[in-house]
Symmetry: D2
Subunit: 348 residues, 4 copies
C-alpha cells in the first residue's frame, strides 16, 4: 500500500481513484437531487409518420431478415440505449399477409395492442391467440411467442415492453425457439375463452398459474362493452376520466408485474386536472382528438398517435371535441414503482 | 377452599365440577375424533315441494308480517338452531308483485341466486340492483338491503347466508333501517356495470373498497357466456367438471370472505371421480338432471332442486343425460376453512 | 307429493317440516340478534383450587390411563361439549417425575405456557423442546408431540387449544403415534436456537415452512428481557398496557392461524380503559395481583390464576399494587375472527 | 410530413430518426442478450487502504464542508454515475469525536453497519439510536437522520444505500432539515428496545407502521447470540453457510423494500458450492479470512474488507482457516428483483 502523499489534494484524489474509491462530497449534489428529473422528455409521435415508415420497410425488408419488423418510438432524451420512457418501450410492429415472425422468448414482459389489420394470431406457449383491432394481448416474461399473418390486410400493432427496466437491472435472458415457429398444443384462444366473461375463475386451474400471463387476450369487444356499460353514470377520476385497469384475474392487480395497462375514456369536453407522479406512462389514442399538456406545453393528439409522459412531469388531459368521446389506451410503470415503495404523486 | 376428600372418586369429581373443572381423560375420545363426523347429513330438497310451500304462504302471510318470506332448508341433522350445513344456510325467498321487504343489515354475509320471476330489484347501500333468473347478487356483511317487486310474476330466489358461522362465533349484529326502505343514492346497477366486462377494474376507485361487496350482481347473461365460451375445449376437474368460481375483482379470491360461489357444467354423460373435503357445500340445479352419490347413496336431482353435502363425506357427481348439459350453482365454506388452515381434501 | 291442506296452519307447518323446511319468520329473532350474546360467561379460576385437583390425580391416575392428565377449565356456560370460551380451551396439565405422555397429533393447534417445574421436554416432530416456567411452546396442528419428565419436581403447565373451533367447524382429525413416543431426529431446541435472537431468519430454510410451528419455544428468558427493555419508556395501550404479541417470524402475524398469544405488563397502579371486542380471550397471571372488571363485576386475580372474558363483554384491567408490576399471559381468537372479517371492537 | 425518399436507405434511416423512430432490427442483438452481462465487475476493496483515505480527509475536510464524509467504493465498471453494484452503493463514513453530520432525508433507503468506534448515535425521526461495532442501523426512505459523535475514538461505518436504483428509476427526492440537527422527540433506542427481544411485536403499535424502518438498530450483541446459539447444529446452505436475513418484524421479509441484509458464518474449512443469481450483492468481512471465487478468479479477503459480486457471475465462498469462523455481513438487491419477478438463480 502506497502511503498517501498529503502534499497535494489532487494526488490524494488520484490515489483514491487507484484504490477504487471516490469522495462522496464531490458527488452529493448530483446523486441526491431535490426532486426527480427524467432523462426522457415529453414527446408525441404522429401515427401517419410512423405508419409510412413501417410500410416502407414492409416492402424492403423481409421478416426473415428483421425477425421482428418494429419501428421503435425513441424518446429524444433516451437514444442510447433506445427507450420510450425510462423503463418502458413502445414500437409499431408491421406484419404483412403471409408472413410469420419466428418464435423466441425473453425475460422482458410484453404486450401488443392491435391498431389495424385482421387474420393475424400470435402463438403463446402453444396457444394461438387471434388479434383484432383494440385487443390487448399479453406475453409475460419467458413465454414463447411467434406471430402469423393469414389475412389480407397490412397489420400494425403497438408493442409494449419493459426491456429498458429488465436491462437496467441486468436481468435479461433471451432464447430462440429451436424450430422456428411453435406447433399449437392448446385449443385456440382458450386462455381468453376461459377467463374473460363474468369475472369467473376456472377452479380446476387451482389458483394463479406459476408462470405466464393470466389471460392471452383482453378483446376489444369486451373492453368496448365496459366503456359503454358505465355510460355517463360514473364520474371517474378528475385527472384521467373514466379509466380502467386491465386486471389479473388471480390477484386483481396489474396484468404484468412491471406494467399496468389501462383504457380510458374522456367524455366530450373533458378537461382533466393536473397531476404529477413518479411513474412514467405511454398513451396510444384509440379514437378522438385532444391535448395533453405537460409542464405547460400542449401536445395535440389524434387517432392512433402515441405520446409519452415521463415521471414527475405535471400533465393534464383534455378532449377537444364537444360531442365525441376520446378513448386512450395507456401503460405505466406504476406497479414496478409501488412494489419498490417508490411511487409518489401530487394531485392538482 | 374445601380440602379434597380422597375417600371417594365421585366426590372428587363433584368437587372438581364445583371448582369449574373437568377431567380431560373422561372427554378425550369425544373431543378428539379420528376424523370429522358432521352433524349435518347429506340431503336433497325437491323444488316443487318447496315452491308449493312458498306459494302457500305468499297467499297467507303478508310481507309486513314476515319481514322476509323465506322457506328455510333445514338439514335433518341441524334442527336447533336450524341450518343447512354446519356454517351455511339455504332458503327460498318468495316475493309477490307489488311487495317490498323492508331494509335491514346484519353481520352475516348473504347472496341471492335468482330462480324465477322478473321486475324485481334489491337496493344495496343505496344502489338498486335488478334481479333476473340465474343472476348472483351479493350483500356482504353489514350492507343495508331491501327487496322490491315491480313486475308481474311470482319471484323466487335462493338465499345463501353464513349466519350459522357468524352465530357459532358469536359475532352477529343486526339492525333495522330507520325508514323502512332505502331511497336510491347511486345509479342503478352501477357496481355491476362498472366491473363485469372485460376484467377491467375502475382505477378511480383506488383498489379494493374498505367494505362491502365487490360487485352487486354477477348477471346470468355473462355467466352463460363463460360456460358457452369454453365449449368443449376444457377438461375441467375430474371431480367437478367445468367449474368456475365467481371472483372478487380486487383480490381474485372468493366473493365473500366465508363463502365461495361457483357455477359448474357437467357435460353429457359426465361421471365425476369421488372426492372428500372438510368443506361443506350446497348446490342448486340450474338445469339438467343427474345424481350426487354421497357415501355410496344416490340422490337424484332435477331442475331447481337443492342438495347439501356436509364436510368429509365422499361425494361424486354425474350427469344422467347423454345429450344435455347439467348446470349447477353451488356454494362452499372452503374459503373460511382455508383462512383458518383447516381445509383438507382427499381425491379419489 | 302430498298437496298442502290449507285448512289448518298447524298442518301446513307439519307438512313443511316433513319436507325438510321451516319458516324463517318464526326464527328470525333468534337467528339475528341485535348484538352478540356469548354462551360463555366471564369466569375466574383460582390456581390453588386447580393445582390441588391436579396433584390429587397425579397420585391416583397413571399417565398410561390418562394419556394426558389435564384438568379442564370449563366455562359454566359451556359444559357440553366442554370449552373455556367459544373457540378456545384452557387446561392445567400435570406431569410427574419419570412420566412420559405418549405421542399423538391432532388438527387442533396447541400451545403450552409453563407454570412450574423443570427437567421436562416435549418432542415435537422429532425435536426435543425443553420447558421452563414462563416458556411458550407451540404445537401447531398435525404435529406429533409427546411429553417427558426427567426432573424432580411436579410440573404443571397451561394447555391452550382451539379444539372447540376445530370441532365446531367439523375439521378435527386425530392420530396416535405408532411407537408410543418419538425418537429425537433433530438437534435439541434447534427451532428456537435458530430463530429467537436478533430478529434473524434462517435464509437456508427458504421462507416459511410449509407446515408446522414457526418456533418451538419462545423462552421466558427472552420475554422477560423484552418487558424489561421497554422499561417505562412506552405508554402501551390505554386498555391493555404494555402488551406484546408473540410473532410468527415468517409473517409477522400470530403464532398460530387461529390464536394470538400475548404477554402484557400492567404497571403499578395501572387502570385500563374499558374495551369491548367480538374476540374472546383467556388470561393467565404470571405475577402480580389485580382485577378484571367485566360488565361491571370485579374478578380479583392473583398469581397463576386464570380468567376468561368472552366476546362482546366490556372489560377493563387494573393492577392493584402501587409498587409491583402485574404480568399476564393471554390468548385470543382475534386472528380467526379477523381472517373471516368478523372482528369488531368498541373502545371506551 | 415529408414523403420518404426511397432512393437511399441511409436517407430513410435519417428521416426515421427525424420522426423520433429507430429500426428495432438494428438494435435487437444489443437489447436482447442471451444472458445478463453486468456493467459492474467483481471487485475487492482492502479496508486499510480505504481507512487511510478516510483518516486523511478526517483531518483535512470539516464535516461542515463535507456534509457526509464518505469514501465511496466505486466499482471499476460503474464510474459515472458512481455505484458499487448496479442498484447498490457502499461507502465508508468517518465521524470524528465532537462532530455532527447535519440532518437530511432522501427517498433512497439506507443502512449503516458499524465497523469501529463508540460514543456515536444517529437521530432518526426524533429517536437517538446508538451505534456500536457490528450494529445494523436502518434509515428507511424519507426518514430524517443526523449523526453525532460524543465519544473519543475515530468512528467508521459502512453506509449502504439503494440510490443507484432510486436514481435509475428517477424517483429520488432530497431535503435538508431546516434546523441543522433534530432534537430528540422519542425515548433513546426505543424502536430497538421494543422489538429486538423474543420475537415479540408491540400490539399497541397496531401492525406495521405506515412508513419508516421497522427497527432502528439490530444490535451486534443479539446477532452474535444468534450465531452462537445455532452452534454447529445447523448445516445452513451449501452455498452460503449459516446465513440469516435481518427480518422486518411486521412482515417477516427484508428490512428494506429493495435491500436484504444478511449475516453469515462460514465454519472453519467451509468450501461453498458455486451459485449464480440475477441479484447483486456486497459483502463486508466482520472477522476471519477467506476467498471469494468469481468466474474462476480468487479474491482473498480479510477483516473489514469489502467485496462486490455483480449479478449472474458465478461465485463461491471459502473460509481459509481450519480453526476460526469467518463472519460476513452482506446486502443484496434480491427483494427488488423478486418484487418485479426478475429473480433467477442457478445452483452449482
Amino acid at each position: 500500500m502506497t502511503t498517501i502523499n498529503a502534499d497535494s489534494d489532487d494526488q490524494v484524489y488520484e490515489e483514491m481513484s487507484r484504490r477504487g474509491a471516490a469522495p462522496l462530497w464531490r458527488h452529493l449534489g448530483n446523486l441526491f437531487l431535490d426532486e426527480p428529473k427524467s432523462a426522457a422528455v415529453p414527446h408525441l409521435w404522429k401515427y401517419p409518420e410512423l405508419r409510412e415508415l413501417a410500410l416502407h420497410f414492409a416492402g424492403r425488408l423481409s421478416i426473415e431478415e428483421a425477425q421482428r419488423r418494429v419501428i421503435m418510438l425513441v424518446n429524444p432524451g433516451l437514444q442510447d440505449p433506445p427507450a420510450t420512457v425510462n423503463t418502458l418501450f413502445a414500437g409499431l410492429q408491421v406484419l404483412m399477409p403471409g408472413e410469420q415472425a419466428p418464435a423466441h422468448r425473453h425475460t422482458a414482459n410484453a404486450f401488443r395492442f392491435i391498431i389495424e389489420g385482421s387474420g393475424v394470431y400470435t402463438t403463446v406457449d402453444g396457444e394461438r391467440v387471434h388479434m383484432n383491432p383494440g385487443d390487448l394481448l399479453l406475453t409475460a416474461g419467458w413465454q414463447w411467442h411467434d406471430h402469423h399473418h393469414e389475412g389480407d390486410d397490412v397489420t400494425i400493432w403497438l408493442d409494449g415492453l419493459d426491456y429498458p427496466l429488465v436491462n437496467m437491472l441486468e436481468c435479461g435472458f433471451f432464447e430462440l425457439f429451436p424450430d422456428g415457429v411453435q406447433a399449437p398444443t392448446e385449443p385456440d384462444d382458450i386462455s381468453t375463452r376461459q377467463m374473460i366473461h363474468g369475472r369467473l375463475n376456472p377452479v380446476w386451474m387451482n389458483g394463479r398459474p406459476a408462470a405466464g400471463r393470466p389471460i392471452g387476450n383482453y378483446p376489444w369487444a369486451e373492453t368496448e362493452k365496459a366503456l359503454a356499460s358505465v355510460a355517463d353514470n360514473a364520474d371517474g377520476s378528475a385527472h384521467d376520466g373514466v379509466i380502467f385497469e386491465y386486471a389479473n384475474p388471480w390477484t386483481g392487480g396489474a396484468v404484468l408485474p412491471t406494467i399496468s395497462c389501462r383504457i380510458q375514456r374522456l367524455r366530450p369536453g373533458f378537461a382533466g386536472k393536473p397531476r404529477q407522479q413518479t411513474a412514467s406512462f405511454i398513451s396510444h389514442v384509440v379514437r378522438g382528438e385532444g391535448t395533453v399538456t405537460v409542464d405547460g406545453r400542449d401536445y395535440d393528439w389524434g387517432r392512433n398517435d402515441v405520446f409519452a409522459v415521463p415521471g414527475w412531469h405535471e400533465y393534464s388531459l383534455s378532449n377537444a371535441s364537444a360531442s365525441q368521446d376520446a378513448v386512450i389506451f395507456s401503460y405505466s410503470n406504476e406497479p414496478a414503482l409501488r412494489a419498490l415503495g417508490l411511487y409518489r404523486e401530487q394531485l392538482g
